[in-house]
Amino acid sequence: MTDLKKHMIVSSRVRLARNIAKIPFPFKMSPFEAASVIDKVFNALKSTGEYNLYKLNELSDIECLSLKERYLISNDLIKNRNIGAVILNSNETISVMVNEEDHIRAQCVLPGLDINTAYEEIKKVDLALNSALNIAYDDELGYITSCPTNLGTGLRASALCFLPGLSTLNDIGKIVKSFSHINAEVRGVYGEGTKATGYLYQVSNKTTLGITEEELVEDVKAMVLELAEKEVKARERILNMCDPDIIDNIMRSYGILTNAYKLTTDEFMSLSADARMGACLGYTPDIDEQKLNTLLLDVQPATLIVKGGKNYTAEERDIARAALVKRMLNNN
């Protein structure tokens, strides 16, 4: 059964940037100051829930890379490995980076379009931090951040969207231009410019100052819904085109994805995107959205090693990846 609205919003994220007043920003802090900030932030959070602290200089390269693959830390935190840390809640929906660009970068990531819940969750983290720490704040500038682009609310709300229709019809560029006057931006996640591998795009707010947190969240949600509406129309057009090349590509991709003995990460990203497109257009069997979104993270190379508990070679990883995909998709 064709459901053109399925497989649209992969995940929602709300992140905020905070700094402790009168302590140098990470690029200027001493190791002692860095350690002190980590302790303060962890103590502020652990009194409110179950959190685990990971200091990056105590983790292996593979563990760091796996955290990055799961979007729990950034490369900018890895660059600050000697002073950086990450604090995670038990189900890894909340991740608090310490000593990245700012003292604190807290995010909540939830599946599907659920920006409001992600915002409510991050507000609890914000309250915990503000209650325990002297968070740098100014009545005119709002929350003080290392880079002035994040001043004010220090909040970025975003959604990761799967847009194969608009992408295939080359309409993304047009959409991006039409949103340029709104407080929102669209960018490809895995590729250059507006044509992304995996048809994945991130929609997020541009400005953080002069707008309330609630207005910001509603703006991003409104743009995501508008984009989703346009994507449904694009998928309808593609369905009506009945283009043999598009259909053939989708079905070949599904075949390889579910039967290959080896798959590289890039192959998986490309094939799974086509298979997902096939699922929502009804050309291939339906794929559970949550299973596929989980696979997107679990097939990444360092995460395969960490979760598999084995130090695979590149070829062994490609074989393990293909086996995992087969297991997850054939149990659909």
């Binding site: 325990a132 290392s146 100052l209």
Partner: protein, 145 residues
Amino acid sequence: MLCAICGKNQAVFKLPANYNNNLVSLPLCEECAVKLGFIKPAVNHFTGVYKTGRSEQRVCPCCRTTEREFSKNGAGCSECYKVFKDIIKPVIVKIHGDVKHKTSLENLKGDNIVKSLEMQLEEAKARNDFSEAQRIFDEIQRRKS
């Protein structure tokens, strides 16, 4: 150690990465790390604000950033935003427009934070941590005003 990509610049950090299907620890210079999209470019919005030839320079009392350093690297701490306010203001207007911070009434949550702080004040007093108690007391007064 030299950067693995350009072989010319000194590497500033080692990045665990999946490079051509191999898991490696790449020594990278800042330039190549930015060019390959591994890290964000360090954009300094305050470049050129420092006017050479000035006999006196302001210095942030907290992080010791001078006006010249501010022009090169940006704010060193939250206090820099007060010390260099006149320089920062036009840059902020350029980025965000001539706007002030807005927050919803719900977010102010002043009462909740103050109640929580009052509890922490009692706890600090009970364990004779007077410097911490003083800090919390000052924070409560700031929020109440």
